[in-house]
Amino acid sequence: MKDRDLFPNRSGIAERHAVLIEGDRMARTKTLLVLAVILFLAVVAVLRLEFSFAGLANGSAQLMTFLGLMVPPDPGGKAMIFLKALGETVAIAFLGTLLAATLAFPLGFLAARGVLRGWLLRALTRRFSDSLRGVDTLIWALIWINVVGLGPFAGVLAIMTSDIGAFTKLFSEAIEAADPRPAEGVASTGGTKLHEVRFGLLPQVLPVFLSQVLYYFESNTRSATIIGIVGAGGIGLHLAEMIRTFEWDRVSFIILIVLAAVAVIDFASTRVRLAMIGDKASQK
């Protein structure tokens, strides 16, 4: 059978349907404009921040030397000190997250729509938690060090303060997103408001709380590592010291054990989450 040419007018197709292929003029101009702005800002940044390719090349060569010295990681006899410090870091993260969750639990109710009558308390709670959230954990660490002195206690307080804001926002959003019908069911069988919350709202909302808290625990382990750099306890101080004295094999050892700790916590928190949510799922 002779091959049929399926597109007898092939040569004109692109021109006739140019709009479909390239988009109309409006869309094209908008795309070009966006790209131009992005490029312009990038050029401004590169110039103002004094990015120079010579500097980058030099620094990269140095970096390669350091990376070479990092292998193999070697604690050099300080393994016990580092491991203890790592334990301190994990403890700081654990307590900070716990305290923040406990304090944010009631605040989350205050900040959620539909729990309280009137808007003033809710607005105040929201602004308060936003300002706590806007200040970075590291800045809180500096402030708390000035108040309670150097050491891990300042670290716990720093993580607690910055996370109260985050948890209040997350908890209030979870409460607002909950289905009101179970609470209505409880009310219809004669329950008080407390019963409504305990049996209608909490079973929906607690799994969400729990998974947020566990996620933040893992993230806080990393934050706790960093606030150690400014003196709030934990392994951060050792890390900064080893970097400043160029002991690269210790640096890589410390980074490895921190990564290992984060991985273990991630694994454990997944198991805990599944165990608790599995429990709740089986209650249905």
Binding site: A45, G55, L56, G59, F94, F153, G233
Partner: protein, 294 residues
């Protein structure tokens, strides 16, 4: 008509109630065990982290007085009584804030471009093979898990003080974080346009460019804006280790007890973060709305 509930005879109810009681008791025991373990963890952590509730209570007034002291000028007046004196360094602080924003922007841009190029190799549907997927995902994970400030410390030693190490540190962390978000988006696309492109003879990159990218671009942009917002916060503290931006002024003010400067800079930082939050939220809503229309 009245509905009657039939009750089982007593000898049939008893084992049912027993079974129920046993189940509840078992579950209560498990919860109690969990609580005990948890309480032990809390106590152990408290001991390790040198937590003393008494010290906290003693120092709480110190905290409030410190915060209060932040809002008092050196000569004893409240900061709001003389805003010009409070913001004596407004010019240089605004310049440093601008630098901070540029650091966050450049870091997000570089990291985002890298993530865009790598995300297809990390996705289950568009990677060339399991080895590439594994390697790319591990690389993304590493860049994401090591804290930004650790990269910044390393880079300050390698590249010297200044904003360059800050930009690079943010870029690498953003590469990991955005890479993960991007490849999860890519795994959820409709594969039919990709199959169509490949069927009409496109190479892998052409198929990606014409079939996959249009589906994911607005999602990518939305995540990139979110990341920029987070990176502004990160860039503000990069200065703590000498990597440029307003963090340097802030840590200097805290350490040298220039109380009113601390509050001035903190308020500037908080205001900037809030403005960026608002701006990026509105941009993201428009992107999501445009995506829904398409």
């Amino acid at each position: 008509m009245s509905a009657a509930l039939t009750r089982l005879p007593a000898h049939q109810i008893a084992p049912l109630l027993d079974g129920y009681g046993r189940e509840i008791a078992r579950r209560r025991r498990a919860s109690a065990m969990g609580l005990v373990v948890f309480a032990l963890c809390v106590l152990a952590a408290g001991w390790v982290a040198e937590v003393e509730p008494r010290k906290f209570v003693e120092n709480l007034p110190k905290f409030t007085s410190y915060i209060g002291r932040l809002f008092v000028l050196d000569d004893g007046r409240l900061v709001l009584a003389d805003p010009l004196e409070w913001y004596w360094g407004l010019g240089k602080w605004l310049a440093k804030l601008g630098d901070t924003l540029l650091i966050a922007y450049l870091g997000t841009l570089i990291g985002g471009i890298g993530a865009f190029l790598s995300c297809f190799g990390a996705s289950a549907n568009l990677a060339t093979g399991p080895l590439m997927r594994f390697l790319t995902r591990r690389a993304l994970e590493f860049c994401r898990t090591v804290p930004e400030l650790v990269f910044a410390l390393l880079f300050v030693v390698a590249f010297g003080l200044g904003p360059v190490p800050g930009v690079l540190a943010i870029a690498i962390h953003t590469y990991g974080a955005l890479g993960k978000l991007f490849f999860e988006v890519v795994e959820n696309i409709d594969m039919k346009p990709v199959e169509g492109a490949i069927a009409s003879g496109a190479s892998r990159w052409q198929a990606i460019r014409y079939a996959a990218v249009p589906q994911v671009l607005s999602n990518f942009a939305s995540y990139a804006l979110l990341r920029f917002e987070i990176n502004v916060r990160g860039a503000a503290v990069m200065g703590f280790v000498g990597a440029g931006g307003i963090g340097q002024d802030l840590i200097e003010a805290v350490r040298k007890f220039y109380y009113s400067d601390v509050s001035a800079i903190l308020c500037l930082v908080i205001a900037t973060v809030m403005l960026i939050d608002l701006g990026t939220e509105r941009l993201r809503h428009r992107l999501i709305a445009a995506e829904r229309k398409a």
